[in-house]
């Protein structure tokens, strides 16, 4: 191995980012070396030998297109006898078939058709959602086109589509994100900057998207690298790309013609993508353009995803490339390469257990309704409510929406995955969930409920569909900003630490009264470098809320501890036995990754904040617990303990509803809402809290 390769390998093993020069130098490496390096990065991002795939269908609503890209064999100009716009009957058939075949969604794309208004697309999306299918639809060129046609901004177009049910956006139309190439290849299509800006806007509105690259035509290797670097940069800002898919241009039946890039070029490009895009989690092979044999081999070159079973695919087929793979074929290719096949959905979440048993696809939750934060200064506007979806056939899972809530939610519960569903299950009146845009990025969805005329909010820290975001990476600032903006004054944080103190057993409740902060390097203030935020943390939790928790829960049905010191760690790893011994010496009772910096940020916003913990396991070293791979907590909790924990989890909503009336009624005689008073008096901060952030 020569020294350049050794240097690159050392960098990659350390998880360091490659510079532009290093990225360019990758093209000089030989194929097997690139594959090896890419495999290492894949192994670090995805330690399990799993390859994911999705079952879906590509539906093209029209092939009539005014863009006339030179590499495209699919489009027809307006007026062409071969032009079509999908009719409802055909669409219905395709959607029903997709559901029958177990498809979880639809990849929806089409030509830029000047005769279709925005309402057509909204209706299309709603129609598909009526079948319970995820809509992975449109692309930046389409969004730009819709905006131009309708006279709206991109954000407005995106909001309307999101309200209609758009779930995510595919990364098409990227080709090569360098205008020199775009001008010659597709002069009537959006520029590279526009493509990136539309994706940024989508990400900020809470939409996940993929990114693609079509290479092997007019571009140079430098331009391919440029493309990758642009994606990487945008991902740093927004984190909204779920996957990257490169593929080679297929020349047949296109204006451009020429030769298709061979497997060598494809595999090199794929491997280099893996090495450069250190911040994009998933890398997908293109069996549609390369065929099953090369796609399988590509799994050894850094890719971890096999794409879609493509119940239908028309665009590449127009170029005469008609590879087809069934789901069982895909699974066979994955398995014979030595990997485990795992079905996923369009958000790259798993929908299948490792034993190959299908999780029943849950009916999709109502799509997030969208409201942008208004300009700082305007306050108290309630979200506009969308109308009920019109559906043709199929199920729709949306509550009939009542009038807007009579008052703002004064209390928010920040809790675990899908917490709002527990309240839905109890029949609490529900206004819907929104993702709110904040200066710190999009918040998690905030769900509004009404309890006998009083509103409260519920927010899941870690994601709605499964444990998506580890504690260390939850966007606390965005969540708290969103809650405060909605009118929240008090936060009840529900969390699940481990116990250092043996008397606090799994299934017990604890209302901690102090914190030992052992976290590292997280953004724990809204005011970095501004000389603000010297807030006393004595007591660190709202005393008024705590009093109510103690009074009510000490006579409750679960064992309850009135005080406790919560040791906060960063994670995502669990602690070592030596660390737990240290924490015990320091007086810690519980250990977890959730409350910090959430509590400190909440106090900077002058929110009352109290935590209600339920113990899920003993911390390391407290009890003898041998490692068990593959099970929850890897054996740290026994099945008996897990059962106790589940009892508490099942009682979560009921407990909260029991606590709510008193918590809401408490008059805020605590110091919490005056923690920043000194800065207001000094003039460092304005009266309107929304002006506090730079």
């Amino acid at each position: 191995m020569n020294s350049m390769t050794a240097r690159l390998q050392a960098k990659l093993t350390a998880g360091d980012r490659l510079s532009r020069e290093e990225a360019l130098s990758l093209w000089d490496l030989d194929l097997l070396t690139l594959g090896r390096l890419a495999e290492q990065v894949r192994g670090r991002l995805h330690p399990e030998p799993t390859v994911t795939y999705v079952v879906d269908r590509n539906i093209n609503y029209t092939n009539i297109c005014v863009s006339g890209c030179r590499f495209c064999a699919f489009y027809r100009p307006p007026g062409s006898p071969e032009g079509f716009v999908l009719e409802e009957e055909t669409l219905s058939r395709k959607l029903a078939e997709t559901r029958e075949l177990g498809g979880s969604g639809v990849l929806l794309q089409g030509g830029l058709n000047p005769d279709l208004p925005l309402e057509y697309y909204e209706g299309l999306v709603r129609f598909i959602r009526g079948y319970g299918l995820h809509v992975h639809g449109f692309s930046p060129p389409e969004i730009v086109f819709f905006a131009r046609q309708s006279g709206l901004s991109w954000a407005q177009v995106l909001e309307r589509l999101i309200r209609a049910g758009l779930g995510s956006i595919p990364g098409g139309g990227a080709e090569i994100l360098v205008d020199r190439v775009r001008r010659r290849l597709s002069p009537h299509k959006c520029s590279a900057t526009e493509w990136l800006a539309v994706m940024a806007a989508a990400h900020r509105l809470g939409l996940k998207t993929t990114a693609t690259m079509m290479f092997g035509h007019l571009e140079t290797r430098e331009e391919r690298t440029e493309h990758l670097l642009k994606i990487r940069d945008l991902q740093d800002e927004t984190g909204g790309f779920t996957a990257f898919i490169p593929w080679s241009f297929q020349p047949q039946n296109t204006a451009l013609g020429g030769e298709a890039a061979g497997s060598w070029d494809y595999l090199k490009t794929l491997a280099i993508s893996r090495l450069v895009l250190d911040n994009v989690r998933n890398l997908q092979v293109s069996w549609v353009t390369q065929g099953g044999k090369i796609a399988q081999v590509a799994l050894a070159f850094g890719a971890n995803d096999f794409g879609s079973t493509m119940i239908e695919e028309n665009v590449v087929a127009a170029a005469g490339v008609t590879f087809r793979l069934s789901e069982s074929e895909i699974r066979r290719l994955i398995a014979s390469a030595g990997y485990m096949a795992q079905r996923r959905n369009h958000l790259y979440q798993m929908v299948e257990t490792e034993q190959g048993k299908e999780l029943r696809l849950e009916p999709l939750p109502p799509p997030p309704r969208l409201e942008l934060a208004r300009n700082a200064g305007k306050s108290g506007q309630s979200p506009s409510l969308p109308k009920r979806n019109k559906v043709g056939r199929g199920e729709v899972r949306e509550p009939l929406l009542p009038d807007p809530p009579p008052q703002k939610p004064a209390l928010a519960v920040i809790a675990r995955v899908g917490a709002h569903r527990d309240f839905l299950a109890k029949g609490v009146k529900y206004w819907g969930g929104e993702v709110r845009a904040t200066p710190f990025g999009p918040s998690n969805p905030v769900h509004l409920f009404d309890l006998e005329g009083q509103s409260f909010a519920v927010l899941s820290r870690h994601g709605e569909e499964g444990y998506q975001v580890a504690a260390a990476f939850v966007n606390d600032r965005a969540n708290l900003f969103a809650l405060k903006e909605l009118g929240v004054e008090k936060v009840l944080a529900w969390c699940a630490p481990g116990a250092i103190t043996e008397a606090m057993e799994p299934g017990h409740l604890v209302a901690p009264d102090d914190i030992l902060d052992e976290t590292r390097g997280e953004p724990y203030t809204f005011f970095p470098g501004r000389g603000l935020g010297f807030i006393r943390q004595n007591p660190v939790f709202c005393p008024e809320m705590r009093r109510i928790l103690v009074r009510i829960l000490k006579s409750g049905s679960f064992p309850f501890h009135e005080t406790g010191v919560y040791v906060a760690t960063s994670g995502p790893r669990l602690e070592t036995p030596a660390e737990i011994r240290k924490f015990r010496k320091l007086g810690g009772d519980l250990v977890g990754m959730t409350l910090v910096p959430e509590v400190f940020l909440a106090r900077e916003l002058e929110l009352c904040y109290a935590a209600l913990c339920y113990v899920v396991n003993f911390a390391e070293g407290i009890k003898e617990r041998p490692f068990q791979p593959g099970v929850l907590f890897e054996g740290l909790a026994t099945p008996g303990e897990i059962e106790q924990v589940q009892k508490v989890e099942a009682a979560f909503a009921e407990m909260v509803l029991q606590l709510l009336p008193e918590l809401l009624a408490a008059p805020r005689a605590c110091p919490c809402n005056r923690l920043m008073e000194r800065y207001r008096l000094r003039g460092d901060l304005g009266e309107d809290w929304r002006t506090w952030f730079r």
């Binding site: 390998q9 290492q40 061979g262 060598w264």
Partner: protein, 363 residues
């Protein structure tokens, strides 16, 4: 410092390969079973580059399949038909000659002739075939009749294999193609092709040819019912025969295709498997000069990739440019020379056009 293998069991093999030590049966199994595709490829590529640098050979040839009538009825075959089958055909000598005449103005170096075991064609048919083609194109090398056909011809002629080969040689035979080897395991032979010439018979014909100064190729059909052990055994038997008589030139692993065979429910071979077979062949057959990837079977994309996994030769019909413009873009039956060169060059290899005996024609 050894390069990074994901599979640590490849590391002792790496030492062996660098020391040019022969690999044994267990080594072959390790290679086949390893999930470390890139590691296996790396090893094979070491050998490939030692022998051939970055050269990638190809030949401009023409194929003639004179008849698909066959008495063997092998289960993995989609080509052979019984004599009264409506899809059966047998070319007359004039038809064969017409075929040759069609492409007289192309720079063809080799005519590759194979067919089924026809029960009725006399030995003279074959002799005449060779003689008349040679008369028409004296400069072209005739690679004709697999060991299986040769044994059949010996029966027809009532001659020994050696004498049969001698007669054919005098009529213009240049070398033997490698087909008919399938898998040497008795288990496979008895279940899939019991009527076929036995492995001993096949090797016997090949070695007799070698002793008469004729070069031959060898093959293995993989991806049906054979086990990994049977594959390795097959390669070792070929290696041993080569040690004795030294006349094998090229080994071609052939990917089984299920369509229209009597094993239609078997899946197609995977890319992993295709590359593994090439790589393992390169590593086990240390005394075979060349390993060929047959792109018609595994596709041009995979054949291109195989140049990094041990193959140094790419075979498949090459079409001259002037035919291309009549046929449109790439036809299903051939690549143009330009396409083939592009394929090879994109892989960072040096395209070398060769004749049957690997004399360089051009590059």
């Amino acid at each position: 410092m050894p390069p990074f293998f994901q599979d640590p069991r490849l590391i002792p093999l790496y030492d062996k390969v660098r020391a040019q030590e022969r690999l044994n049966f267990e080594d072959g199994i390790t290679l086949y079973r390893s999930r470390d595709l890139l590691g296996v490829g790396y090893l094979a590529n070491l050998v490939r580059e030692r022998l051939h640098g970055r050269r990638a050979y190809f030949i401009y040839n023409q194929h003639i399949n004179y008849s698909n009538v066959c008495v063997n009825g092998c289960q993995f075959c989609a080509f052979g038909k019984s004599a009264n089958d409506p899809a059966a055909y047998t070319m007359s000598l004039s038809e064969i000659l017409d075929k040759v005449k069609e492409r007289l103005d192309e720079p063809i170096s080799e005519i590759h002739i194979v067919g089924g075991l026809h029960p009725d064609l006399p030995f003279s048919y074959y002799l005449d075939m060779l003689q008349t083609i040679r008369a028409l194109r004296p400069e072209v090398h005739l690679q004709a009749f697999t060991a299986v056909e040769i044994a059949h011809l010996a029966d027809l002629a009532g001659l020994s294999v050696a004498d049969t080969l001698q007669a054919l040689k005098e009529a213009g035979l240049g070398s033997l193609p490698g087909g008919g080897a399938e898998v040497f395991s008795p288990r496979i032979r008895s279940s899939l092709c019991p009527k076929k010439l036995s492995p001993e018979g096949w090797l016997g014909v090949a070695q007799t040819a070698h002793r008469l100064g004729l070069k031959t190729n060898a093959t293995m059909l993989y991806g049906h019912l054979e086990t990994v052990e049977e594959r390795v055994e097959h390669l070792i038997r070929l290696r041993e025969a080569q040690d004795e008589t030294g006349g094998f030139v090229t080994f071609i692993p052939l990917a089984f295709h299920p369509k229209n065979t009597r094993l239609p429910d078997l899946p197609e071979t995977t890319g992993f498997d295709d590359l593994k077979n090439l790589a393992v062949a390169r590593l086990m057959l240390d005394n075979f000069p060349h390993i060929k990837a047959f792109w018609i079977m595994i596709g041009p994309k995979l054949a291109q990739l195989s140049l990094a996994f041990g193959a140094d030769d790419i075979d498949g019909t090459v079409i001259e440019e002037k035919i291309t413009h009549m046929a449109g873009a790439q036809t299903p039956t051939g690549l143009t020379r330009a396409q083939l060169l592009h394929l090879i060059q994109e892989a960072g290899c040096e395209p070398v056009e060769r004749d049957t005996l690997y004399n360089i024609i051009g590059s």
